[in-house]
């Protein structure tokens, strides 16, 4: 069931996920489209998330936005960043830990190489925020050595996270604590739980699909969404994911399509990184429990694979 509408206010609105914004020229959503989108969201009873551009919005836009309950997602460098509910940083090094406050939710987008070089800086960020989402944008480029490096990095970061929990600051960190809190899949949900409305008034599975190919829309605000093969975005129609317990995994349908050509099929790299996170979360859970009781009843079993594909492939 559709729960969220992501409204991309401008063609240069910030990315908060794997995809890159490839438009240079700003193109603001017409006010009329914005008003229709707000009305549609109220009728369909969906939560709204606005993706902001860098520049300040005209006053009538700001007024329209305030007519509906919503979440504001902005780049840290955006003109109105102070009003954001979720602040996006491009690169770990661009985060000034001193400027953060404990109620902040931040997203840090980083490439693999930069993550490996800079992840230690997250130790200073973790005590300062309530939630940290790290998105490694080029997961598809992970090679065998990278998996090893990634595991070592998460093991190190887990020490900092444990200290936060022991020090009574239960910070949420997507790579290490989300899995600990989950008993079932909680993924990105693009195409099943969420859709995106682009500035052109058309729906897309998510902003990444808009940036890839503007003609790849799934309906428009006047006629409503019309997603073909909608079942393929649901967990039950994803043969690998439906048997998986990396519940925190992004399960990015856009990356799926890019790497395997099917929205319901993840790449090896997506699965392996999610399992390295899952297993690091399991060890973190054990480590926190060494200090005291923590989330009784939540268990992450030990497993001997890092890619559930191996368990479901039909040719072996």
């Amino acid at each position: 069931m559709l729960k969220y509408l992501i409204i991309q206010l401008d063609s240069t609105s910030t990315s908060f996920c794997h995809y890159a914004v490839n438009r240079r020229e700003p193109c603001l959503m017409p006010l009329d489209t914005l008003r229709k989108a707000i009305r549609w969201s109220m009728i369909e009873n969906v939560n709204v998330q606005f993706l902001y551009p860098e520049y300040p919005l005209p006053a009538e836009y700001a007024d329209a936005i305030e007519t509906i309950d919503h979440v504001k997602i902005m780049q840290a460098t955006a003109a109105d960043a102070g009003k954001a509910d979720i602040v996006v940083f491009d690169g770990i090094a661009s985060v000034d830990a001193d400027s953060l406050s404990e109620d902040m939710s931040i997203v840090v987008r980083t490439g693999k190489k930069a993550f490996f070089a800079e992840y230690a800086m997250l130790n200073a960020i973790l005590p300062k925020v309530s939630r940290l989402n790290v998105v490694i944008t080029d997961i598809a480029s992970f090679a065998d050595d990278d998996f090893t490096t990634y595991e070592a990095a998460l093991t190190e970061l887990a020490v900092a996270v444990k200290n936060e929990y022991v020090g009574n600051h239960p910070v949420q960190f997507n790579l290490l604590t989300d899995r600990i809190m989950l008993k079932e899949m909680n993924n990105c949900g693009a195409g099943s739980e969420s859709l995106t409305l682009a500035p052109n008034g058309r729906f897309y599975v998510c902003p990444a699909f808009y940036f890839d190919d503007e003609s790849d829309s799934v309906g428009d605000i006047d006629n409503g969404p019309s997603l073909k093969n909608p079942q393929l975005y649901k967990l039950g129609y994803a043969p690998i994911c439906r048997v998986c317990d990396a519940f925190h995994c992004h399960r990015c349908v856009w990356l799926n399509r890019r790497t395997t050509l099917e929205v319901n099929t993840p790449s090896h790299e997506q699965c392996a990184t999610a399992h390295i996170e899952r297993n690091a979360s399991r060890r973190l859970l054990e480590a926190i429990r060494e200090v005291g009781e923590f989330l009784p009843g939540m268990e992450i079993p030990e497993i001997d694979y890092i890619d559930p594909f191996e368990n479901v492939r039909i040719d072996r």
């Binding site: 073909k228 093969n229 393929l232 129609y237 043969p239 690998i240 790497t259 395997t260 050509l261 099917e262 929205v263 319901n264 099929t265 993840p266 790449s267 090896h268 790299e269 594909f309 479901v312 492939r313 039909i314 040719d315 072996r316």
Partner: protein, 410 residues
């Protein structure tokens, strides 16, 4: 000579065991014929495989032995018409044999070369020399569609001018082919216009000495209103002829199978029908495909699905959707709940080509009514046959001797 014949037949049955990897060389996209039902929309005379590409493909496959753990291998050569490229094929096969031996590869002596040909060049010196040289590792099927009028309805020569059927050019080679492959079967494809000729065609093929007739309706959405009823009538007439003429003792027709027309368990009987992704096809450009049907020349609507090439190897991520596809995930609920689902086939390539989005996960059900008609005629066939056998007291003997016809996996 008789012993040799027997060996080929035994081999053929053993090779139907389904443990082999299928590797297909699309050696040419050219053909002498322009069959009207041919799914190859992009046939042409230019795209012929070079020796360099073929060698690179073989080297890649043999260099990555661990990625091909199947016990055996079938090297398929298709076109267009593969025998147009007999010189290249001979060179490829010689190289494969040498390399299997040199590398002590686990497929050494567990390989087969397979051809599906239009039969026109079958008796040429070059093809015959190739057959002689590779006889113990060879299977060849000649496509003949039935009676002359049925065959010539679709299987016509390429070119401008008045339509010219190819029946006479093929049928003259059937005795030679059957003398070399006595268990040889033929593939017959049924489209809407062929329905009235099904009965006479199968009987005609039997009369030519072909004991195994693998016959399918096309998967494409070509069916007209009333085709299912006409199809059922033809199959009922054919059923009567096979039973009354005692052909069931020694001949088979894949339309009639005891295994079709039953409900399927969504968990225990959830296999994919099609072998796409477990096979590997290579085209003249050196691109790899999960099956030939995903190459550009086979697709009407969609972009090809390329899973790698001879230089960079296989992109394993692109194989994942194929290797995790099951029946229920790609089927509409109507098929999951269907009371007669067993034997209702699909082609992954046609599913992809006909799907509303570029996915292999949307099953085309264009053959639904045709399958249901087949099931009704099939019920009639077995009820009539078993009754006859029981009355004759020969049911037990039939059960012991019946030809083991497996539904053909594409």
């Amino acid at each position: 000579m008789n012993e040799e014949k027997l060996k080929i037949k035994e081999d053929a049955q053993q090779w139907e065991g389904g443990v082999a990897k299928n590797i297909t060389f699309i050696v040419t996209k050219d053909c002498q014929l322009a069959c009207k039902y041919c799914y190859l929309v992009g046939k042409n005379e230019e795209e012929r495989m070079s020796w360099e590409v073929a060698k690179q493909a073989i080297d890649y496959i043999f260099d990555h032995e661990n990625d091909f753990p199947e016990r055996s291998v079938v090297f398929d050569f298709i076109g267009g018409e593969p025998f147009l490229e007999i010189d290249l094929i001979e060179r490829i096969c010689d190289y494969i044999k040498t390399e299997l031996f040199r590398r002590q590869h686990h497929w050494f002596d567990s390989y087969r070369f397979s051809f599906s040909t239009n039969g026109i060049n079958y008796d040429t010196q070059k093809v015959q020399r190739f057959i002689e040289k590779n006889a113990s590792h060879l299977s060849i099927g000649i496509t003949i569609d039935g009676t002359q009028r049925k065959h010539d309805l679709n299987r016509i020569w390429k070119g401008d001018g008045p339509e010219r059927g190819s029946y006479n050019d093929v049928v003259r080679n059937i005795p030679l082919w059957l003398s070399q492959f006595p268990g040889g079967g033929t593939k017959v494809t049924i489209s809407s216009a062929d329905i009235p000729y099904i009965r006479e065609s199968v009987l005609h093929l039997y009369s030519l000495g072909i004991h195994e007739v693998n016959i399918n309706v096309v998967f494409e959405d070509v069916w007209q209103e009333g085709d299912d009823r006409r199809f059922e009538e033809q199959l009922m007439l054919l059923a009567d002829d096979i039973i009354d003429g005692d052909y069931y003792k020694d001949y088979s027709c894949s339309f009639f199978s005891e295994r079709i027309g039953k409900p399927l368990d969504p968990v225990k009987e959830n296999n994919n029908w099609c072998g796409a992704g477990r096979m590997l096809s290579i085209d003249a450009a050196g691109n790899f495909y999960p099956c030939t049907r995903f190459a550009a020349y086979s697709l009407r609507e969609k972009r090809p699905i390329i899973i790698g090439n001879v230089r960079d190897g296989i992109n394993k991520n692109r194989l994942r959707p194929f290797l995790t596809l099951d029946r229920t995930t790609q089927s509409p609920q109507e098929c999951v709940d269907c009371e007669v689902a067993s034997g209702c086939a699909w082609c992954q390539g046609e599913n992809y080509d006909a799907a509303e989005t570029p996915t292999v996960y949307q099953r085309s059900t264009a053959i639904c009514l045709m399958h249901k008609a087949r099931v009704r005629a099939n019920n009639y066939y077995w009820n009539r046959l078993f009754r006859k056998l029981e009355k004759d007291g020969s049911r037990e003997e039939f059960e012991q001797n019946k030809r083991n016809v497996k539904p053909e996996i594409c």
